[in-house]
Amino acid sequence: MSENERDDMAREIERDPELEARFARAPREAEPARNLWPAIARAIDAEATPGRVRPAARYRVPAVPLRIAAALVLFASGVLVGQRWGDRSAVPEPAPEVPIARAQDPLAAAAEVQRAGTAYVSALSRLDESAGALERDQGVDAALSALQGAAYELVRLRPDDPQAGRILYTVSEARASEGGDPPTVRF
């Protein structure tokens, strides 16, 4: 007996014609007790038209890395500002141009950076929830620009700090890959 014949016999043994006949007669359709179309129509009305191009992936992808980068920049900027104001107590320096540097309390500068950073991250969170593709794209572009501006400031504050340099490099690379322009928004 060939292998195929053995398989055929095994299939025949496995088959149960009576059961198969009962299944063959089983209805394939059932009418729901209520009309489900109105709920479906409401759901699809809330969707974009099928076939419409969704927001470009290049702007949806960086949301998480952007937040991580933002957190890094904010953390580093907080540290750097703190260090700078710590240094100022030992060695007097000319007053910096930014408003935060005019504060009398050394902690006020870091607090100001912290507040601005929190507002920035909150704005990014809201951007992520935004329904409008155009608004989101514009918001992400502005966010990247602001992030790059912050990275520039970090490097300006600590020109010899390799971490600040790496942050600026990373953000600039991310911005370049998005086709971004030089920074237009600065803290």
Binding site: R28, A30, W37, A41, P50, G51
Partner: protein, 162 residues
């Protein structure tokens, strides 16, 4: 491929009974079956642009609907297993009687009483006409597992309907 909402409603009117039947047998619960029908058609609407026309629209729609039903049934089963919730088979039988006039109630009850995995495979194979290899691929299990589940299910069905 672009479809208007009016065309989509026609599609729904033509195919919703088939989707409801699948969902009802999978869930054994009319309320959940209705949810699955809604979910399946919203998925179909979203996926219409990806329909390439190589298969019949009804075949493709059926496939999307089965996937939606399986996803929902499995996600719900995981949650309800933790809650130890039972299925009301009398309510299910009453719905089968209402929604599928002429159905073999003994068979439907026997299928409904099968363990979850075996029930899904029996429905896909005997009612929806999927081959064992297709079921294995769809459920992400070995073809041998599908065959052994079918064998076990046949035995259980015979015992139940004896």
């Amino acid at each position: 491929m672009q479809h208007s909402r009016a065309e989509f409603e026609t599609l729904y009117r033509e195919h919703h009974r088939r989707v409801y039947a699948i969902a009802l047998r999978f869930t054994r619960d009319p309320d959940r079956a209705e949810e699955i029908v809604q979910d399946a058609f919203v998925r179909v609407w979203r996926s219409l642009p990806s329909f390439n026309g190589n298969s019949r629209l009804s075949t493709w729609l059926h496939s999307v609907a089965v996937n939606a039903a399986l996803d929902r049934v499995r996600a719900r089963a995981r949650r309800e297993a933790r809650l130890d919730r039972d299925v009301d088979l009398d309510r299910y039988a009453a719905e089968i009687e209402r929604a599928m006039p002429g159905a073999d109630l003994d068979l439907e009850r026997a299928v409904a009483a099968l363990p979850d995995g075996a029930r899904e495979i029996v429905i896909l194979h005997y009612i929806e006409g999927y081959a064992c290899a297709e079921i294995a691929e769809r459920l992400g299990i070995a073809e041998g597992t599908v065959k052994s589940q079918l064998h076990r299910a046949r035995r259980l069905l015979k015992e139940t309907m004896a």
